[in-house]
Every structure is written in structure tokens, then in C-alpha cells.
Amino acid sequence: MTELSFEAAQKELEGIVERLERGQPSLDEAIALWERGEELLRLCLARLDAAHGKIEELAQRAESATPFSEPDR
């Protein structure tokens, strides 16, 4: 499950939502789909949180460095 990429997870999640919205799956099926959807949602959000944290960390590190000091005269 952790091998699933964000894009694949998102795509599957959207597919589940569309099926739930559109069709009349059996209740058992609907519940199974829904549980799967919840799982995928958590996965996507976790991936986004991780990415956000990584970006913040990198930005902070870059900010503390001084890449554009004036050349000596």
C-alpha cells in the first residue's frame, strides 16, 4: 500500500468517489469502497503533509545560507 504513488492513490480515490456518486453498488460493496476511499484519503493527505514539511525544511536551510554575497572589490 505504501508503494502506491500520490498520483495513483488520488486517481483511485477519485474513481471510488465517482462510483459511489454514480452507481448503486450493493451496500456491502459501498461500505468496502468507502473504507478503501478513507484509507486512500489518509494516504494522500499524509503524502502532502510530508512534501510540505520537506519544502519548509529546504527553504529554511536555503534562507540561512547566503548564496549571493557581493564580490570583493
Binding site: L13, E14, W34
Partner: protein, 406 residues
């Protein structure tokens, strides 16, 4: 002018002044003549307007006083001395104050001059035809002669003038003096011998032929054909300094350079050491200046090139830095933006999922009932006493069927 006598009865009497005037008038009508004689008692003085002398007949001693304007006398340039034979062109006049007869002179020629002059002119033409006086034959004088030959008379003046001038201008100069007779019948042969012997000496680079001023006769040897040819064929350049400015003996024409006086000859053959030192100092100064100027010019060019290089590099650097800053900002904003957009998408999908949740239905008071792990949609098939599972919005319960309705 008419002279009027006084009358004493029938006797005409003239005053002395009137008599002198009358005689003077008569004399003035006589023609201008050539008279031959010997110059004696020559008296010339810078303060006097006229030069006076007595013209004497060498045969019987007869004399006549003579005078001519000093300026005319000097212009002749004859250098006359007492005892010289001359031809005088003039006419008689009366010096009225003293009642003395005197000769008013227009010009003087040294006796026999005409014959000499004609001979010299003939020789000059012949030598010119031989090409002896051609400009093309003139050799340049050496700038720094190793040794200078000086051919001169043993009389002091000319020799001293050359030596003094040369030594004063260039103390290191070496001079070989060859003395010779410079006037009289044996002078020409002597001059030729001296010239040839001095020119043969080692390191002689130039020869000066010098003689002070003298009468026309005195300078005659320097127009002798032997002397002129010896000057022309001398193996080293010859400077001729014979007589005064107005004299032009033929050796002057054959020489490589002509000096008006022995002093001028001295100036021609050696450079002036003091002037030379000055020239060198000036050359040194201007050399240093031009080197410094060239150096400064090059330095300015380099400095400007360096400045513009630095400005160019700085501008390029700033442009690159700006681009990097903008890229950096976009780099940093990009992923965050992407994350936010994705999050918004995911959250919308999440909201839709939540809306579809079966639990939402349970929240409204419905329950899911299972029997034998199957969701019940009908009571058919159920029997009283059978166990069923009820799932609610919150929690669930197990129950037993009491009765079954159709």
C-alpha cells in the same frame, strides 16, 4: 663760376680765393686719366672720411698727393702697402684752402694685376672643364675626425687661430701640423708637398689648408694649378681657409669645404663639445619623456580596458544573480503551490467521500441488520430465536428474533 677782378686803373687784380676758384674751374675741365706710380705715405684712419697717400714716380721721384673716400678704398680690398706699384684712375683738382694740386682718385688697381687675373681666369675655366670644381666631387667632412692635418705657414696667426678654435671646441682633437712656405715663387711646390705628406699619415680624416689675409700677390700660390690639383685629388676631404672673405683663390673652389677664415675652418672640422653635450642631454631628456609618455599612454589604455572589463563582468554577474534570485523564488514557491493545489483537490474529493458515507445514513437513525453475516433486506427466511447483529451510527448490538412478520 665767373671770377670778377678788381680794377686799379687799367690793371686787373684777383683775390687769392678768386684766383684759386678760377684755377679750380680750369682743372675741372681736364679729363679723367690713368696714372702709374708707387704708393707712399699711405694714411688711412677709421675716423677720417678719406684715405690719403702720395703717388710717386719711381723713375725721378716726382710726387702728387692723392685722396679717395675711405669707403671706396676699403671696398677695393687691396690691402695696399707703401712702395706698391699701382695704376690710379682719377683727375686733378685744387685744394682751394691751401692752393695745392691733388689727385682725386676714383679707383686703384695693383700694377700687373690685369695680367695675373686673366691668367687665373683661363686656368679656372680649364680646371672647371676638367670637372675639378663639380659639386658632385665634394665629400662630406667627417663628424669626428680621428686626426686633423693642418697645412699652414710658419707665421703664427692662421695656425694659432685654427689650433685655438679646434682645441676650444673639441679638446680631445689630435692635430698634425705641416708647415710650409705660403708665399713667394717656391710656395706652390711646398704647399703641394706638405698636403701630400700630411694626407699620407695614419688616421688623418681631414686636412685644413690655412693662410691668413694677404695681398693679391701673396695669395697667388693658392691659385697655382699644382696646388689646386693637389687639393682636388687629396685622399681625404680638404677645408680651404685662405685669405679673407672676399678672396677666392682657386684652391677654395677645388676644396670639399670653404671657410672664410682659419677660425671658421676650425669650427667646420670638429663639433663643439659643449653643444654636443647639450644635444645629448636634450636627447636623453626627450627620450625619457617619450618613454614616460608611451608608458603612461599604455597604462591608461590598460586601465580603461580593465575598468570596462570589470564593469562588463559586474553587469553580467548582476544579471545572472538577478536571474538566479528569480529562479530561486519561483523554485521555492512552485512546490508549495503544487502541494496546496493537490491538497485542495484531495480535500474536495474527501468532502464528497464523506457525503457518501453509509455512516451518514446511520446518523439519520437507520440501522444495518445482519444475520448469518448477510445484510437483511427482508424478514423472510428468518426464524424466531435466531441471532441477528445490529449496527448503529454509534456502536452496535446483538439480538434474538422474537417473532417474524410477513
Amino acid at each position: 663760376m665767373k671770377v670778377e677782378p678788381l680794377l686799379y686803373g687799367d690793371r686787373k687784380v684777383y683775390s687769392v680765393a678768386g684766383f684759386n676758384r678760377g684755377v679750380a674751374d680750369w682743372l675741372a675741365r681736364l679729363p679723367t686719366l690713368w696714372i702709374e706710380g708707387e704708393v707712399t705715405e699711405l694714411r688711412r684712419h677709421d675716423r677720417w672720411a678719406s684715405v690719403f697717400f702720395t703717388l710717386k714716380d719711381p723713375a725721378d721721384g716726382a710726387c702728387v698727393p692723392a685722396s679717395l673716400p675711405r669707403r671706396a678704398f676699403d671696398a677695393l680690398g687691396l690691402g695696399l702697402k707703401d712702395g706698391e706699384r699701382v695704376h690710379v684712375y682719377g683727375r686733378p683738382e685744387l685744394y682751394a684752402v691751401k692752393g695745392e694740386l691733388r689727385l682725386r682718385v676714383l679707383t686703384i688697381e695693383r700694377f700687373g694685376l690685369g695680367a695675373h687675373l686673366a691668367a687665373i681666369e683661363r686656368l679656372k675655366a680649364a680646371l672647371a672643364a676638367d670637372g675639378l670644381f663639380d659639386d658632385a666631387r665634394k665629400r662630406a667632412l667627417p663628424r669626428f675626425p680621428r686626426r686633423i692635418g693642418l697645412v699652414t705657414g710658419n707665421d703664427a696667426a692662421a695656425k694659432r687661430d685654427v689650433l685655438t678654435t679646434v682645441t676650444a671646441r673639441f679638446p680631445a682633437a689630435r692635430i698634425l701640423v705641416a708647415e710650409t712656405l705660403v708665399q713667394g715663387p717656391r710656395a706652390a711646390a711646398g704647399i703641394v708637398a706638405a698636403l701630400e705628406s700630411v694626407a699620407r699619415e695614419d688616421e688623418i680624416d681631414v686636412v685644413v689648408l690655412a693662410r691668413g689675409g694677404g695681398s693679391f700677390d701673396d695669395l697667388l700660390p693658392f691659385s697655382d694649378e699644382r696646388v689646386v690639383r693637389a687639393v682636388a685629388t687629396c685622399p681625404v676631404p680638404v677645408v680651404s681657409a685662405v685669405g679673407h672673405e672676399q678672396d677666392t683663390p682657386l684652391c677654395d673652389l677645388a676644396a670639399d669645404a670653404r671657410a672664410s677664415t682659419p677660425t671658421a675652418a676650425g669650427k667646420l672640422v670638429v663639433p663643439d663639445l659643449a653643444e654636443l653635450r647639450g644635444e645629448l642631454a636634450r636627447a636623453q631628456t626627450s627620450l625619457a619623456q617619450s618613454v614616460r609618455r608611451a608608458f603612461e599612454r599604455d597604462r591608461d589604455v590598460l586601465r580603461r580596458a580593465h575598468d570596462s572589463l570589470e564593469r562588463g563582468a559586474r553587469r553580467a554577474l548582476e544579471r545572472d544573480a538577478d536571474r538566479l534570485v528569480s529562479l530561486r523564488d519561483r523554485l521555492r514557491r512552485g512546490p508549495a503551490l503544487l502541494v496546496e493545489r493537490r491538497r485542495a483537490g484531495v480535500e474536495r474529493t474527501g468532502a464528497r467521500l464523506a457525503a457518501l458515507s453509509p455512516r451518514a445514513t446511520l446518523e439519520r437513525g437507520y440501522a444495518i441488520v445482519r444475520a448469518r453475516d448477510e445484510i437483511l433486506r427482508s424478514s423472510a427466511g428468518l426464524s424466531p430465536g435466531e441471532r441477528i447483529e445490529v449496527e448503529l451510527a454509534a456502536g452496535g448490538l446483538g439480538a434474538v428474533v422474537e417473532d417474524v412478520r410477513e
